[in-house]
């Protein structure tokens, strides 16, 4: 296990170091060339930024509305939040625009993205020139302790997307209904056998559902290293066989006998609240506390992580190649990285999305913003979250989803 992690690190280190150099060097340049950023600000004034992102959460939507109001007042940039079901729809639309030869004045200026969607856009040339190094606040990002802020599912971001927030899988259960939840992937199977119908996961390709597959795969596979290389360099069948064996055993004991799956991540919370299931999971360690405060979960819900760690990643914002308000999009992306915006985002009463900033790069006043944040009743202290498991290479996402659909989607 430990050796495996070292191997991961050894593989990661060069890329991480390189990106850190680029990042730090780049932001030094940005600071030195304050005039250049001023030019961006001047250009951005009066622009309207169409920010496309998943709109399934009220708290996220409210937060975006707040940020939009702030940049309107401060920089004269109007942000329109285009709420979508799945950011893949937006990737599709930008592709349609490229199909029609629209290389400027595209319909999307900034989009909330990560993982395989980012990889697909990068590969198909749907993202423009790198912009992240030009954002003054990028210098504050914790690129060292959080390498996922510059390497997205093993794909280097190359300055094409700016980190926005951190995510890590946590499991949740209602202490009033369940005494002791299983704390490992294999324990989960044993528990489900004893008490069938009380667990499920969102149907891949929902990203939370796919994350469950990855979580199980990382733990169960005999060749963890292969997951961090492109999938076509691995023996997919051999590497993933333990996962399918596991799911074959698990599915009959799932909610509704594994014949029906929730279609989106947040439905797990609803099912937990409805007492249809006993264990749910989410990508945001603060989600359970926020849901309790919001009246969506009972106060007796608590969270935990699995022994051996859970999957963690970073989510980003990116500017498409044909954005109409590129300067405005950069100003908004930079504001989202500001200590003020990041601290508000991390507030569990607002959204509760962990920050990407490095505390030691902030001023004492800025640090105080974060220190003052309350911790919700169901939120684990940061040290209890443990070291997150890295996402497999972006190419595994599609492969796992396709194989899942082929096996269970018919």
């Amino acid at each position: 296990m430990v050796r495996g992690m070292f191997r991961d690190l050894a593989m990661w280190l060069p890329a991480v170091l390189l990106s850190v150099c680029v990042a730090v060097g780049g932001s030094a340049v940005a600071r030195a060339q304050g005039g250049e950023w001023q030019a961006v600000l001047d250009e951005a004034r009066g622009q309207t930024v169409y920010f496309n992102g998943w709109g399934g959460s009220d708290r996220v939507n409210d937060y975006v509305a707040w940020a939009a109001e702030r940049v309107l007042n401060e920089y004269g940039v109007r942000v329109r939040h285009v709420r979508v079901n799945d950011i893949a729809e937006v990737v599709a639309r930008i592709l349609a625009e490229k199909t029609a030869g629209r290389t400027e004045r595209g319909s999307v200026d900034l989009m909330w993205i990560n993982g395989e969607n980012f990889a697909a856009m990068k590969e198909n040339g749907l993202l423009g020139a790198p912009f992240v190094d030009r954002l003054p606040n990028f210098a504050l990002v914790d690129t060292e302790a959080r390498p996922t802020t510059i390497i997205d599912f093993s794909v280097p971001t190359d300055g094409l997307e700016a980190p926005w927030g951190m995510a890590q899988v946590v499991f949740m259960y209602d202490t009033a209904l369940l005494d002791e939840p299983p704390r490992s992937i294999t324990g989960l199977l044993a528990w489900a056998r004893d008490d069938p119908g009380r667990f499920t996961y969102p149907q891949p390709p929902d990203f939370l559902g796919t994350t469950f597959l990855k979580q199980a795969l990382v733990v169960l596979t005999g060749d963890r290293d292969a997951l961090y290389r492109p999938v076509d360099q691995a023996d997919f069948a051999a590497v993933t066989e333990p996962l399918w064996d596991y799911l074959d055993a698990l599915h009959p004991h799932l909610w509704r006998g594994g014949e029906t799956f929730p279609q989106a991540g947040p439905q797990l919370l609803q099912l937990l609240d409805d007492a249809e299931i006993d264990i749910a999971f989410n990508f945001n360690p603060n989600e359970a506390s926020a849901a309790i405060a919001d009246g969506l979960l009972p106060e007796t819900v608590r969270t935990y992580v699995l022994d051996g760690g859970t999957i963690g990643n970073t989510h980003f914002v990116a500017i498409p190649f044909n954005a109409q308000a590129r300067a405005g999009a950069m100003v908004f992306a930079d504001f989202l990285l500001s200590p003020e915006a990041q601290a508000r985002k991390a507030d569990p009463r607002i959204w509760g999305d962990p920050t990407v900033l490095a505390m030691d790069r902030l001023s004492p006043e800025e640090r105080a913003l974060f220190a003052a944040l309350p911790r919700g009743p169901a939120t684990l202290p940061p040290e209890a979250l443990g070291t997150p498991l890295l996402e497999p290479h972006a190419s595994w996402t599609g492969a796992l989803e396709a194989e899942w659909l082929a096996r269970y989607g018919q």
Binding site: R80, E89, T99, G101, S107, N117, Q410
Partner: protein
Amino acid sequence: MAGPLRAIAGRRPRLRRGPWMGFVPWLTLFLFLVPVLLGLVGTWLPAFGYLPALGGTGLSPEPWQRLFADPSLPGALLLTVTTGFLSALLALVLAMSVLAAWHGTRLLRAVRRFLAPLLAVPHAALALGLAFLLADSGWLVRLAFAAGELMGLAVPRRPPMLGLANDPNGIALTFGLALKETPFLLLMSLAALGQIRVERTLAVARSAGYGPVTAWVKTVLPQLYPQIRLPVYAVLAYSLSVVDMALILGPSTPPTLAVLVLRWFNDPDLSLRFMAAAGATLQLCIVLAALALWYGAERLVVRCCRPWLSAGGRGGPGRATRGVSGLAIGLAGAMFAAAILAMAVWSVTRRWRFPDALPAQWSAATWAETLPVLAWPAWTTLWAGLAAAGLALVLTIGCLEYEDRAGVRPSTRALWLLYVPLLVPQIAFLFGAQVLLVLLRLDGTAPALIWSHLMFVLPYVFLALSDPWRALDSRYARTARCLGLSPGAVLLRVKLPMLLRPLLIAAAIGFAVSVAQYLPTIFAGAGRLTTLTVEAVGLAGGGDRRVIGMYAFAQSVLPLAAFALALAVPTMLYRRRKGMSP
């Protein structure tokens, strides 16, 4: 093409009175058919491998090979065909049995009064409400638990495992579709019955000793069915290719073909686009084949029933049919109402946990907090609906007025053209239409959104208005002409005021159709323009029923308000003119 075009444009055009009018039917057809045709071509090209942006420059059968190799396809096809046929059949049987068993009764008059509001409720809102009713921890189970507790029974802490919603066989979807389509068929049938001498026919049959239901089935139904054949086909085509209801109520492993195709269109792996285009084309083929099959079944039924029709069996008093159909329509109405009520209740809930029969804490917070966010899509819904309904009304009036002046009647073939956007599955041409819009730089603009809605609004407005228009006694117009009014003045000062009520009802129907559009809004709105329906379907995955409830409720309220206005305005305007109110 020329034949049917001439049919709607008139066979013997006498253009002396307003030659410009001849332009209107052509314009109407252009608005309708050209986009559909271009959209189909724009979908067929990638289906055969041509999509230069993704490196597809030549024609190849590969997308089809990939499509037929997809493991989800067989299950999806089976599901699509079974849910589509069964729901259309169920809706037809329900509508016909109610008409057969309850014609001329108070029940039918009550049903008629509720038809408009039932039609006004968008598919997505009904589906969201039904999903909550039918869930294992849904309202029906909660009410049953509460009832059990009242009777002193021991109620379990966990919900039962019923598995009604999203069942793998699509029964919930079939049921939901039938529930939504029955009012439409009833409305179209009631309109058609106005053109048949029902009472006289029935009187003759009854005097010959036929039972009430048998008399209706043997003498009225054979006259009625040809008149509602097109609406029935529209229902069948819609049920086979519906997306929003299938997303909310249908199964997902696999889903129906239309949902599967949309999934491929939206997949981050862009190479799936080719397969998606092939799937969309397959969807079109399935609908066409289904229509042909249905037509064949009609022939078969006619042939098999002919001996029965003339065999002279008088049938009994039909109490069983009456009981069953009355019960079914009552249950359906109750489910419909409960679904919408559930959404309304959720929107003012703070905490409503299983197994409480009603919310434990009520709150207006969802409305207070979400209203500002909801205002923008609500505003888009409003102007898009008003513009589409208004344009459709103007075009329809133009076509009908041209009919009057040129002295022609459109043939059945022309009516078929009108139905094209309703018979061709939306997913089969909307992708191509989207590329067209992007080429014209119109995607995400108001004209694009209004036009995409207009395609679907226009047929309904035309259907709703043409009968009352043609039924207007032509002697009024002739008298006005004799008194020296110009044709334009006759239209403005005689016909339109007299037809105010049907005009407004047609506009309200058009508005409701626009509000309910899901796929066209997604494709033409380009994410920049979003309506309550799109938001509500999007939130279905969001897990907060309070917000879902609010959107679903708001989405139902707008068309209901339109219908209320359509009924109230003529009554107010004509308060002092009794003769004007029918």
